[in-house]
């Protein structure tokens, strides 16, 4: 019995030693840092206020609207290093809900120390996770951003009303999602930072990321609420995703 214990002890010690990072390996020894991301939601330049009066906002077509829900996912964040390398941040999924102020300030962690000139991320959720079964955390379907009848995540959800909408109670329902061709609405956002972002252990630099709800309704196709006021996947969601691919996000500020 004593022998067995000794053997076990030896085995455990062996495992512990081999699991330690090798100081000669620069990748494993590298320190990481964090950046705080402040999300600011707007509607074509005006701060977004949910449930405000109908006359406050107009879409690009000039249609009045009121917004009651605005939620979106961003995922698979990569930072672009000074030398052009794309540094992928593992397991980076973020859900922003305009109705929940705690989601407006988030952090991207585990970024290798260094200087970064830009960012790229998926607007929505990558197709792997879309089809990978029950998820948890921000990807928990209980967050109300998952379709049960056509399984997969809703990437961007905007609801509200417009007197021009022909739907019941003049509702606007824009649930954009779908990860399969030809109705794939996964779009990638890439932007160069207005100034270099410095990541280092123990510091907390900041990014200001502005999300413009109005981008859903302009760009490639100017949306007329009389004609398009409801979409839950399918070709109309592709129209909206094509619209917001470039205009939905903008990094407006980098504070080191």
């Amino acid at each position: 019995m004593k022998k067995l214990i000794t053997l076990l002890m030896l085995a455990i010690t062996g495992l512990t030693v081999s699991a330690k990072p090798n100081p000669g390996d620069p990748k494993k020894a590298a320190k990481t840092g964090t950046v705080a991301v402040h999300f600011k939601n707007v509607m074509d330049g005006k701060a977004l206020k949910l449930n405000d009066s109908l006359s406050l906002y107009q879409n690009a077509n000039g249609d009045d609207l009121k917004i009651t829900t605005f939620k979106y996912y961003i995922s698979n964040v990569s930072l672009i290093a000074k030398n052009g390398d794309k540094i992928a941040i593992p397991d980076s999924y973020f859900l922003v809900n305009a109705a929940d102020s705690t989601t407006l300030n988030q952090q991207i962690t585990n970024i290798p120390e260094g200087k970064y000139t830009g960012i790229t991320f998926t607007i929505g959720v990558d197709s792997l996770r879309n089809f990978a079964g029950a998820q948890t955390g921000v990807l928990d379907p209980a967050k109300g951003m998952f379709w049960s009848w056509n399984s997969g995540y809703i990437f961007v959800k905007l609801e509200g009303e417009s007197p021009k909408s022909t739907a019941k109670k003049h509702r606007l329902t824009f649930h954009i999602g779908g990860a399969k061709d030809p109705n794939n609405t996964i779009r990638t956002f890439t932007q160069k930072f207005p100034k270099t972002l410095k990541i280092s252990d123990g510091k907390l630099p900041e990014l200001e990321l502005v999300a413009n709800a109005g981008a859903l309704f302009q760009g490639k196709t100017t949306v007329d609420f009389a004609k398009l006021n409801f979409t839950m996947g399918g070709p109309n969601s592709v129209v909206v995703a094509d619209n917001y691919a470039d205009g939905l996000f903008k990094i407006t500020k980098v504070t080191n």
Binding site: F131, G133, A142, W149, P182
Partner: protein, 352 residues
């Protein structure tokens, strides 16, 4: 030391086996042991689609899934459980119900599909809209005409029910209850619903009880000639979506509702023929009561619908012509696909 260790291990094993399937105080355990709850691929089956890596079936996970499957607490008014539309004696379809029947006497639009061999399915539902076994119950849970509830409500109800935190702890290590664990427990139960012990299976595996009669043999030959393109062995479906000429103008656009493709209008998933004897009524809307009616449809009822499957329109003939004798032979063969062991398996029935 050695002897003590062995006694301890034996005791531990004994306790595990005894508690694995002991529901409440009645102590009925159906003779089920932890060992009997393990997913196994039948010899005549391919590799499953479901990757059990993140959710291996355990006796406690399966037990929780089984309890959830039979618990109406997950519907809006606590009146409807999964088992309401998926009855064990009907191979987990809904006997005598053309379409599913939800809360507030709401009638849905489609026939509840039987639940078995789900671990081999890449997509779920008549239109294939659900892509993963784990999230497939969410459809029924949130559909306003079925359980009409939402995941947050379900999770908080489970948290507030005395037995569940303990059951979740046994299954997943801690008392935490969330949607992922709920879905995974249900998947441990539903993935275990394997039907592979019919007379046909015994015939294929050359086991005792697998001798086909002359009529069944003739039916099998006909099946291979006339039906097997769509109803591929051993699952008896190729899992594709096809139109079998039911309506010139379909009320239900079927697969089109998922893909938004005109070419998918009126197409539905090819159902498995396993246990077909037990799963009436038939078709996505449960329009046919008997297998005779189904074969009569293929013989003379196929309509030239927009996306009619080309197999049902060859040499200017619509459908599959079969004499009455042939129809009877085919039905005799289809009945060899009935798996009594499966429908009578105590592990899958309502916990006491």
């Amino acid at each position: 030391m050695k002897a003590k260790g062995i006694v301890f291990l034996v005791l531990l094993g004994f306790i595990t086996v005894c508690t694995a399937f002991n529901y409440g105080f009645k102590g009925i355990n159906y003779g089920i042991t932890a060992d009997s709850v393990r997913f196994a691929v039948p010899a005549n089956f391919p590799k499953p689609v479901y990757d059990f890596k993140d959710n291996p079936v355990t006796s406690n996970g399966f037990k929780l899934g089984r309890i959830l499957f039979y618990d109406p607490i997950i519907s809006k008014d606590k009146s409807i459980s999964c088992a309401n539309c998926h009855q064990s004696f009907a191979a987990f379809a809904n006997l005598d119900h053309a379409v599913s029947h939800g809360v507030d006497e709401c009638l849905g639009t489609r026939n509840a599909p039987p639940l078995f061999n789900l671990a081999w399915q890449k997509e779920f539902m008549w239109d294939g809209g659900v892509h993963h076994i784990e999230v497939s119950p969410m459809n029924a849970m949130t559909n306003p005409c079925e359980m009409a509830t939402d995941l947050n409500t379900i999770v908080s109800r489970l948290q507030e029910t005395k037995a569940y935190p303990t059951l979740f702890k046994a299954a997943f290590g801690t008392t935490e209850i969330n949607s992922q664990r709920t879905f995974r427990a249900l998947a441990q139960f539903t993935s275990m619903l394997v039907s592979a012990n019919s007379k046909y299976d015994k015939y294929i595996r050359q086991e005792k009880g697998g001798d086909l009669t002359e009529e069944e043999t003739a039916g099998y030959a006909l099946f291979k000639q006339k039906c097997s393109t769509c109803h591929q062995e051993p699952l008896f479906t190729d899992l594709s979506y096809r139109s079998n000429g039911l309506d010139l103008k379909p009320d239900d656009i079927g697969r089109d509702s998922i893909t938004h493709q005109e070419t998918d209008r009126g197409k539905f998933r090819v159902p498995s023929l396993r246990n077909i004897e037990l799963t009436s009524p038939y078709m996505h809307d449960g329009r046919f009561e008997t297998l005779k009616e189904v074969l009569a449809h293929y013989n003379s009822g196929v309509k030239p619908t927009a996306n009619l499957d080309p197999i049902l329109h060859q040499n200017n003939v619509y459908g599959i012509k079969l004499s009455i004798i042939q129809q009877n032979q085919l039905i005799a063969f289809l009945k060899t696909l009935t798996d009594r062991d499966f429908v009578n398996d105590k592990r899958f029935q309502a916990p006491e």
